[in-house]
């Protein structure tokens, strides 16, 4: 479990880093009067600044993911320029013709430079595109106005040089940030896949290559989901993801007996528009194995602990039912008492087994969307007779409005409420009152349960230890010796496993109120469903 937590934190941090970086580059690029675009090694546009959009009239969503040659008339020349930059390993400049969205030709000067990571591997290119329409006009009128214009021109050249220097600096910083992110992605222990807005694979980290048995990256980068089906492990993953790449949260995918992954997808959004998807592959093989071993262990423990108790229970039951011959009233009396003692032992063992399971971690088995008031009503009903017998008024105040459904493990929550109600009734004297109520806090988006009694209360000096394992308060011990001291420990664990909270207010001899809140957390799932 702890392993998983660290991963989530790391992922969160990387996500924040990426967001910071994105903002940083965006802000830096925004004010530059020079059109800049960033390309990946395949010359696909992966980022552009405001000046670029102004010059070309393309929106971000229209241009990201396009091949750079699409926006130039001289398609071979732009390709050659980029190839040469890579071969000669120095920035180059060339005059070309840019085609805007409206098919208008603009003469431009294109400067290209490579982007490299720390190890000197090529990770893409930078292109600075300078509109030279004006410069051309200058040149034409130059003959007429050489003398008066020379000075101006020189000044504007100097300005241009300054801008280019600034761009170099910005480029260097951006590259640094990108390299850092790349190192993080490369060394990430989870597998990561990045798909672009057309659902084509644009990045795969080394761990994902190992998980999916990818030998050569070149064969899969830039391929669409359908084209990736040729790799058996990809096929299984794609079956889970679907062609639309809907949001997936922690779904299990078994690639082989020795490799079970947990898959999560995260949409990449800019201005609420999806421009790609990150797929996270988390290895849970070991956790699954441990889980299986634990199940086996609990099963064996249950067997060892319960076998003699079942034998006693069944023997006594059959004696009582007369299945083993007639018994006298006195014998019946003794056997009934023994039967009840045995039942107490059984419930103590049940509590112990529940505790074992809690400490194993995987305690919530099947969370399903449920109306909590139905669960509470069920538990309250099952205690009415007990309350009547003890002459206690047990009341359930239902919520005024229908509660939103919440995802809970019904069996466990029932057990938690049962423990609270059991205590309330057990430790309230005859003619007392136990009130259960439910309400929904719209602002906090949580459901609150209250179990209030007019019972013996919890002594001040012992309130701190009330949720500890095997703890029983002094006044309670005096009153009744029965009880495992595990009820509230189990209840607290159940509530916290649901990301809820539990607390109480109590005054000795006046009564106790337990409060439980459970979060209504549908937003995140709803959010994921949208993609």
């Amino acid at each position: 479990m702890s392993e998983k937590k660290i991963t989530e934190e790391e992922f969160q941090r990387i996500k924040e880093d990426l967001e910071d970086l994105e903002k940083y580059i965006e802000e830096l690029f925004k004010f530059l009067p020079l059109a800049i675009c960033t390309l990946n090694p395949l010359r696909i546009i992966i980022d552009v600044n405001q000046a670029f959009r102004d010059l070309t009239n393309y929106k971000v969503t229209e241009i990201i993911g396009e091949d750079i040659k699409e926006i130039f008339s001289e398609k071979k020349k732009i390709k050659n320029l980029i190839d040469n930059v890579q071969k000669k390993e120095k920035p180059l400049t060339k005059e070309l013709t840019l085609i805007t969205k409206e098919k208008k030709d603009i003469p431009v000067s294109v400067s290209a430079a490579t982007r490299k990571d720390e190890k000197g591997n090529l990770i893409g290119y930078f292109l600075a595109i300078f509109d030279i329409t004006e410069i051309k006009k200058f040149r034409e009128s130059l003959e007429k106005k050489v003398k008066e214009r020379t000075k101006d021109l020189e000044e504007s050249r100097t300005a241009l040089m300054n801008i280019l220097e600034d761009i170099e600096e910005a480029k260097r910083k951006a590259e640094e940030e990108r390299d850092r992110t790349n190192i993080i992605i490369t060394n990430f222990t989870d597998g990561l896949l990045v798909f672009n807005k057309e659902n084509k694979l644009s990045l795969i980290n080394p761990q994902a290559k190992i998980f999916l048995k990818v030998k050569s990256e070149e064969k899969i980068i830039g391929k669409s989901i359908n084209e990736l089906n040729f790799l058996p492990n990809f096929k299984k993953l794609i079956k889970l993801l679907g062609k639309e790449m809907k949001g997936i949260f922690r779904q299990e995918l078994s690639l082989s007996k020795d490799l079970i992954l947990e898959i999560t997808t995260v949409p990449m959004l800019r201005d609420e528009i999806k421009f790609g998807t990150i797929v996270i592959l988390h290895n849970i093989t070991r956790e699954k194995l441990i889980e299986e071993m634990k199940t086996e262990f609990v099963s064996l423990a249950a067997h060892q602990l319960r076998t003699p108790l079942s034998a006693i229970k069944w023997t006594l039951r059959m004696l009582l039912d007369g299945d083993l011959g007639k018994i006298t009233e006195e014998q019946r009396n003794f056997i009934e008492k023994t039967y009840r003692s045995n039942e107490r032992m059984i419930s103590l063992i049940n509590d112990l087994l529940d505790v074992t399971r809690i400490e194993e971690g995987r305690y919530l088995y099947k969370p399903i969307l449920t109306d909590l008031s139905i669960v509470v009503q069920f538990v309250v009903n099952s205690y009415q007779e007990e309350a009547r017998r003890k002459q206690i008024n047990l009341e359930f105040i239902k919520p005024k409005e229908k509660l939103p459904e919440i995802k809970i493990d019904v069996e466990k929550i029932r057990l938690a409420i049962q423990n609270l109600l059991d205590n309330a009734i057990r430790y309230t004297n005859p003619n007392g009152k136990v009130t259960v109520s439910l309400k929904y806090d719209k602002l906090k988006k949580e459901i609150e349960l209250q179990v209030k009694d007019t019972g013996i209360g919890i002594p001040d000096d012992q309130q701190k230890r009330i949720f500890s394992k095997f703890f029983r308060a002094a006044n309670v011990m005096r009153m009744e010796t029965e009880g495992s001291g595990l009820g509230l420990f189990i209840t607290k664990n159940i509530i916290e496993a649901h990301k809820g909270k539990i607390w109480f207010k109590s005054k000795e001899n006046y009564g106790t109120t337990f409060y439980v809140t459970l979060p209504v957390k549908k937003e995140f799932e709803e959010f994921l469903k949208k993609f």
């Binding site: 199940t295 319960r306 229970k313 069944w314 059959m318 059984i346 069996e411």
Partner: protein, 122 residues
């Protein structure tokens, strides 16, 4: 015709109690003390229902059900699991292997076992 019930269980006292109760209810009872013996006997007598323990020597209850699934005739015999454990994962697994019901011994008594049997074979 008397219905045939095969009880596969290793705990002597449980065998004693259940056998007595089942005979009282008019069933024809056969006993196996481990999974292997259970498989042998069920092939021979083709019982109407099987009461199956999970943790047993030689071959456990899950393996017995796995073996039964491989045989078309045996797969049709209704199985009620009687176990001392009852974790949701285990119950799920048993259901997938065709078990009709799962009883935790400490939570039921012999009469309730009879009721469950009657539900399966009338």
């Amino acid at each position: 015709m008397e219905k045939k019930i095969l009880l596969i269980e290793d705990e002597e006292i449980m065998i004693d109690l259940l056998r007595r109760k089942l005979i009282q209810e008019g069933y024809n009872v056969s006993i196996a003390r481990d999974g292997e013996e259970g498989l042998k006997i069920m092939k021979k007598i083709m019982p109407d229902l099987i009461l199956l323990d999970i943790i047993m020597p030689k071959m456990g209850g899950f393996e017995v059900m796995e073996e039964m699934q491989k045989d078309k005739k045996l797969a049709k015999i209704p199985v009620i699991v009687i176990s001392n454990s009852g974790q949701p994962v285990e119950i799920d697994k048993a259901q997938k292997l065709g078990a009709k019901d799962w009883l935790i011994k400490t939570e039921f008594d012999p009469q309730e076992v009879i009721d469950k049997i009657k539900k399966q074979i009338k």
